[in-house]
């Protein structure tokens, strides 16, 4: 099947109200309207969602493995951003 001419789209589904849209896969379609329709048929056959996003795969700008150090390492040395950095006195059971 030559779907070469068809655009590749990434599909995101919000499983229920209050949750984030989650990446579920991709599909081929001619335009975003059709991508949305196919996403409904392909990825929500069991009512897995209440909302769908489709995005042209080519429009996604992804960070590269090579950039990983410069992107993410700087936050490694900031443990004080995490609550677990601050031990609580035993007497205080939750905060």
């Amino acid at each position: 099947m030559t779907t070469e001419k068809l655009e590749l789209f990434e599909v995101f589904v919000r499983p229920k109200r209050g949750l984030d849209h989650k990446h579920v896969g991709s599909l081929h379609a001619e335009d975003k309207e059709q991508a949305l329709e196919y996403a409904r048929d392909v990825y929500t056959r069991r009512t897995e969602g209440i909302s769908i996003w489709v995005v042209k795969s080519g429009d996604i700008c992804a960070s590269q493995e090579d950039d990983r150090e410069s992107f993410f390492d700087p936050s490694d040395d900031k443990p004080y951003r995490h609550a677990t950095y601050y031990p609580l006195p035993k007497e205080i059971s939750n905060m």
């Binding site: 099947m1 779907t3 379609a29 309207e33 059709q34 329709e37 409904r40 048929d41 392909v42």
Partner: protein
């Protein structure tokens, strides 16, 4: 039996017959659409066509199921689908035509989906509660079907020379089967008077307006030819239905009384 109980019995039988017709329309078209599985132009479309077929098969089960309940004689949905002969099937002819090429399927779907849109909308005002519930469910499916068939008609009508040629050819070949969709027989008239059935005659203008709108944008024309084939509601079918039923019913009929 008093006159009024006799009337009640008659109108119940009328309703059963009406439900079975609607079931016949759904199962026969569902069968045709299901023939596309593994034959679609690409994988996404195989899945989408599968959904449409499933909607129609589900709808047939609801109509037949309601008829079976009303029958009160132990009949099941399967008895209606598998144990009646060609002459007893009362689906509109348009539904039994072969699946044809993709253009043929899209044109048929467009005409039938737009018809269903108005038909189901009207059915929601029936005095029969179960029919109303079925119509509510089915019309959601049909809005989606309309969306699909309309956008496909635009793509193919306004795509290449070849796709336009195929679409117009399909329109020319199918159009003559659309007329009987808007004709009411005595059975339906009695049920219309009772507030149960849809008066199809009333749907024609709205339907035609919808079709013309899509056709205009897609560059398709309604044929001037005046041929019209009728007979579905009388069990007077094309030769295609017999083969469809042969295939659909043979396993069920080969094992009388078996459960599956």
């Amino acid at each position: 039996m008093t006159q009024s109980t006799q009337n009640k019995v008659d109108s119940k039988q009328d309703l059963i017959n009406y439900l079975v017709r609607l079931g016949d329309d759904s199962i026969v078209l569902g069968h045709r659409v299901s023939e596309w599985v593994s034959n679609g132009p690409f994988l996404e479309e195989d899945i989408a066509l599968g959904n449409v077929a499933l909607d129609y098969i589900g709808r047939a089960r609801l109509f037949y199921g309601h008829a079976a309940t009303l029958s009160e004689d132990g009949k099941t949905e399967d008895d209606f689908a598998f144990l009646r002969d060609e002459r007893e099937f009362e689906n509109y002819l348009i539904n039994e035509l072969p699946r044809g090429d993709f253009a043929y399927t899209i044109v048929r779907q467009l005409l039938v989906d737009l018809y269903n849109k108005h038909h189901l909308q009207a059915l929601k005002s029936s005095t029969d509660e179960t029919l109303v519930a079925i119509a509510e469910k089915a019309s959601k499916e049909t809005s989606y079907h309309c969306r699909r068939s309309t956008s496909w008609a635009l793509r193919l009508g306004d795509g290449t020379q070849e796709s336009k040629r195929r679409m117009q050819l399909a329109v020319d070949d199918i159009w003559g089967y659309s007329h009987e969709l808007f004709e009411v027989d005595a059975l339906e008239q009695r049920l219309i008077d009772a507030g149960i059935a849809v008066d199809c005659e009333q749907l024609k203008q709205q339907w035609l307006a919808d079709v013309e709108e899509v056709f205009e944008e897609a560059g398709l024309t309604i044929p001037e030819a005046t041929w019209a084939v009728r007979g579905g509601r009388k069990g007077y079918h094309t030769e295609h239905l017999g083969h469809l039923l042969t295939q659909m019913q043979f396993v069920h009929r080969s094992f009388p009384g078996a459960t599956w």
